[in-house]
């Protein structure tokens, strides 16, 4: 159950020339991976099936883009309420969000490491449970972000009054689009080898950016609160 992820083992040869993007995403907050050439370069050599591979990418990416745009449009059109439900037990709604986001980022690092293990990028350390760990930490991280995002979207909307807030708003929209695209692409067979690392890297980078522009900012301005 834990070994049959759709990652590298299914297509060892094709991943070879495509390693750079994987390594790049591993180095963390590089800008969302605009991967160097691979999509077109290797595709050109593999003539016939290559177009099919790229077409398989198209619909999930479009859906992901649609999710991002919809979130942004909603955040702009809905008049922010200033109020939204939050979890009990913390000193303020912001503290709840900040700590949920910290949990998600912690799990995102588990994601990064388990992905590296799955792709045999940890010097041969690739336990059979890496896939299971990756999937469950990802699910949990995603679910942790949902209440945070709902609060942002409902209480504040897409705001632009400072660079931090603008970046945070845009990254938030991008994050859910990228995540949706990755989820939709996961079960697909015969994708270009760079697909999942690039999307995973994009999701990871976006989440890190979201955390830096919110939780870290919050701690820097307010001190560490619970």
């Amino acid at each position: 159950m834990s070994t049959e992820f759709t990652g590298p083992p299914s297509q060892p040869p094709s991943t070879r020339p495509l390693q750079p993007p994987v390594v790049a995403t591993a180095r963390i907050p590089v800008v969302p991976p605009t991967p160097p050439a691979p999509p077109s370069a290797p595709a050109a050599k593999r003539d016939a099936p290559s177009s099919g591979r790229s077409v398989a990418l198209l619909l999930p990416l479009l859906v992901g883009g649609g999710v991002s745009v919809s979130l942004g449009v909603y955040g702009r059109l809905h008049t922010p309420s200033g109020i939204a439900v939050d979890l009990a037990g913390f000193s303020s709604p912001l503290a709840v969000k900040v700590w949920l986001a910290c949990g998600a980022v912690l799990l995102a690092f588990v994601q990064l490491l388990s992905a590296l293990a799955m792709w045999r990028r940890l010097g041969g350390f690739s336990p059979s449970w890496a896939g299971t760990l990756h999937r469950w930490s990802g699910r949990l991280a995603f679910l942790l972000t949902v209440p945070v995002a709902m609060h942002c979207l409902y209480a504040f909307g897409l705001a632009t009054y400072s660079p931090r807030v603008l970046i945070h708003s845009l990254l938030g929209c991008f994050f859910y689009g990228a995540f949706t695209a990755k989820m939709l692409l996961l079960p697909k067979k015969g994708l270009p080898g760079w697909t999942l690392p690039v999307l995973g890297g994009a999701v990871f980078t976006a989440l890190t950016g979201l955390w830096l522009s919110s939780s870290v900012w919050f701690f820097a301005t307010n001190g560490v609160q619970f």
Partner: protein, 219 residues
């Protein structure tokens, strides 16, 4: 991995989101806009449901209007006269500004419902109090200062004004409390808090450090 697993993940997220959305809609009814202001993120609102639902029996409101969302502005000097306070509520969503016209100032946001004021701001700034019969009273803590206040309802052009601008790549926020033609205001900019320039009332403009500020009434 089952082919449907990622889809289930997405649906689970969507489900949680949908539940929260419905809850939000209930909590913030009628979801009217607070002014889009710079402090929006810092000062997340306090929970509406507990504040508004609890003490309806204690107040004089009839049961039908148990959750009474008010639109009003109260402004005046805090007790002792060292600073001014203005609280602008729109359909129960309140923004308050405390300012001594010099170095002390703070923006707070929260709720004004069911006779109670509950607002919070940056760094633990808080305002709690009650309102009714044309007055608002309570206490406000901003930074190291805490004052009590008992101020009355004001109407335009008295009220609370706020301007945000980007002056030479720095965010500048100005606030003015106007009561019976007298202004108290401050501008928070890259060099900290300073006295605000005179706000021209009909045009709601001011000039700060050579740059124009355009204020909006929050009341």
């Amino acid at each position: 991995m089952k082919r449907t697993a990622p889809l289930l993940t997405l649906l689970a997220g969507l489900g949680v989101g949908a539940v929260l959305f419905v809850a939000n809609t209930i909590v913030s009814q009628p979801h009217k806009a607070p002014p889009r202001s710079g402090t929006a993120v810092q000062a997340a609102a306090t929970r509406a449901a507990p504040t508004s639902a609890a003490p309806s029996a204690a107040t004089t409101a009839p049961p039908a209007a148990a959750v009474k969302k008010i639109t009003a502005t109260w402004a005046g000097k805090v007790d002792g006269g060292k600073a001014s306070i203005a609280i602008a509520a729109k359909e129960g969503v309140a923004v308050a500004y405390l300012c001594d016209g010099n170095r002390v100032e703070g923006w707070l946001r929260g709720t004004a419902a069911d006779g109670k004021l509950s607002l919070s701001g940056e760094n633990g700034d808080r305002l709690t109090g009650t309102f009714g019969n044309g007055r608002a009273e309570g206490s406000v803590s901003v930074g190291r200062w805490t004052w009590t206040f008992d101020v009355k309802t004001v109407t335009k052009p008295s009220g609370l004004y706020r301007a945000t601008a980007n002056v030479r790549n720095a965010e500048v926020v100005g606030g003015w409390i106007v009561v019976d033609g007298r202004q108290v205001g401050a501008v928070d900019g890259p060099d900290g808090t300073q006295s605000a320039p005179e706000l021209s009332i009909p045009s709601l403009t001011a000039t700060w450090d050579g740059a124009p500020l355009v204020a909006v009434p929050l009341s």
